[in-house]
Each structure stands twice: as C-alpha cells, then as structure tokens.
Subunit: 193 residues, 2 copies
Amino acid sequence: MGRPSRKDDILQAALACFSEQGVDATTIEMIRDRSGASIGSLYHHFGNKERIIAALYLEGVSGYARLLEAGFARVDTAKGCIKLLVGCYVDWVLTNPDWARFILHSRGRVEASELGEQLRETNRLHHGRIDEVLRPYRESGAYREMPRDCFVSVVIGPVQDFTRNWLAGRTRTSLADCRELFMQVAWDAVRAL
Amino acid sequence: MGRPSRKDDILQAALACFSEQGVDATTIEMIRDRSGASIGSLYHHFGNKERIIAALYLEGVSGYARLLEAGFARVDTAKGCIKLLVGCYVDWVLTNPDWARFILHSRGRVEASELGEQLRETNRLHHGRIDEVLRPYRESGAYREMPRDCFVSVVIGPVQDFTRNWLAGRTRTSLADCRELFMQVAWDAVRAL
DNA sequence: AAGTATTCTAGAAAAATATTCTAGTTTCAT
DNA sequence: ATGAAACTAGAATATTTTTCTAGAATACTT
C-alpha cells in the first residue's frame, strides 16, 4: 500500500489546480510546482497534459463504479436498484466534490481527446454492467417499457443536472437534502404503471 | 441584416473547427485560416480565445431561449409548458447539432472562464423566466411539490443526458424518435399525483 | 468634398506555454 | 555488485497565444 506515488502526487496536484483555477488556466508549470515533481517526471508518467486530465477523469469514474458495484451486492429489488443508482451517485459526489466538479466539467474534453475511445469503452462497459444487473427485473416487467438507451438517462439525468448546479453553487437546496427526492423521482419515472 | 460580418465569420469558422477537431485541438491559427481574418482582426473582435468560446456559447443558449419564448406565447396549460420545455430543447438540438455538441461540452469551460459570471447571470435570468411562466400553474397546485431548484433538473435532466449521448453517437435510438417519450416522462415526473 | 475620428485589418514581434531531449539517479531483481 | 528498467531533472526547442505598431476602410462633421 505504501505512500502515495509520485504519479498520484501529480494527479492530486492537478486536481487541486483544476479546482482552484479551472482546467484551462492551469499550466503544466503550476502542476509541477504543486506536486514537487519535475517537468521530466511529469512527462515520463503522462505523455502530455491531456493524459493527466484523462487519467484523473477515468480514475474518478471508476471510483463511482466501485461504489456502485459494492451496492449491487446488497440490493435485490427492482426499486432498490434504481434508488441505488441515484443514491450512490449522490454519495460519491458528496464525498468527492472537487473531483465531481472536475468530471462533470471535463467529459467533453476527454471525449474529444486521444483517449476518447477508451472513455467510450469504459462507458459501454459501465452501462453494460448496469443493464446486466437490471435485466431480471426488466424481464419480469417491473420497469416501464422504454428503449434501453433512454433508461439510464431517465434515471440519472435529473440528479446529474441538479448536481452540476449544486457544485456550481447555484442552488439553495443542498444536494444531501434532495437525495431522497431524486431517488423517488427516478423510481416513479421508470416503475411500471 | 446584410451579409455576415467579419465577427460572424470568425464565430462560424470557430464552430466548424471546434466540431471537427475539438475545442482544445483548434488553434487561433486554424480559426484565422478558416475565417480568412487576420490575427489582428480576430483579437480586435474578441480579446482572446476564451471569449470566442464564450461568445459562441452564449449566442447558442440565447437561440434556445428565443425558441422557448416563442413557444410560451402559444401555450396555456400546465402540461403544455412542461412539454414545451422538453420539445423546444430537442428541436433546437436537431436543428443545430454542431452547436449543441459544442455547448454541451463547453459549459464547464465557460463557467470557469472570466465570462463565467455573465453565463451564470444569463442562467439566472433564464430560470427566472421559466419560473415566472410556470408560477400560475404551480400556485394552482398542478405540479408536484418540490424545491424550485430541483424542478427544472427533473424536467430537463433526462433529455439533456440522452442528448449528450446521442450527439456522441452512443445511442441506437434517434433523438427524434424519443422526443415524445421524454416529453411524457417529464410531465409524469412533475404532475401532481 | 475635405477633414477627422472611429472601427477594423494586417502581420511582425514578444510572451507564455507545452513538449522533447539528453543526462543523470534510484530501484530492484539477479 | 551489476545491469536493466523505471524514474527524475532541467535546459533546449517547438508551439501557441497574445501584444503591438501601423495602415486601410468606414462613418461622421463641417
């Protein structure tokens, strides 16, 4: 387990800079300063700035995926799964607000980068896994009929949009306070009538 | 009226570059090339790259707002308003897919930029206007009880997420085909029980 | 129409930033 | 202890953004 590696130092420093200055405004030099690494070290670990961004992004996404996976093991109802999807999302954001802000703001950038394909692949897997877990309930008719690719959007879209606003300080209501609401809204939206 | 101004040329060239190469990958030089303008001209009209991005963003958002405003004039039911919010969104995206892709991918960047405050102000106004139109129906009890700042997320979150996926070519279902579905989902989510 | 101010265009020069490269240092398995 | 591989360093280079000075077009005044 040991101490954080230089590589992690760099990622953490990058996240801190991104949070304080925004991604565009942070220079390699700032990340170098803050992490204590040298330019050479930095470019050794990540070949360029884009890849620092992508690594941070993918690492964050996989954190949420792990949380979700742990949750799947504890849940065995159609309703429980939907609430879990929303609840985990909120929990992860509450625990890692800076990281969440970064991710919500950088999806486009990563998609457009050379690592876009990898991200898309990760997403496919993620969605595939959700699909797999939901399949038995879907097949038993517990969910409203709708195209697969709309389903996840219906479930996660509302919290995601609210979260973006909350992270930007644009809401009066706190995210924690409407966790239940969004779980309920998601379930109402997809339960069979 | 008249022909597109040099300023518009630059914005259009920028959008084309952004669509083809991604925002990060397009350089001022590319925009200069494509628009036929000179560096000087470019910097005269917009002080820097950030402001080109912000101008394009804000112009797009205001296009959607205008479409919505036109719709408000034709609608006078609680349900009609909700469906309009979703329908207009879809219509604008279908008409301006490149622009929409750019906007959905650049929100974070613009928010973090020096024009972030202006964007937030625009958003406040936009939300305020929606609130204003919806108020009579809300007060008459046509909508489910929930915090104001959650309401818009519940209505627009699902289409928005789906749209992002559709624009990235990640969906099998076409956006046009699920326009009705998302309108219905939004209405079901907020109608009083 | 001539004069004047303002907006706009140009591209070279400067500044800022990202990336490469060469040379050393540590780590670790043998 | 030795050699290979991973890592670190920072100067040098390349790229990209931004500034600056000057000149052309346009509108405005008399």
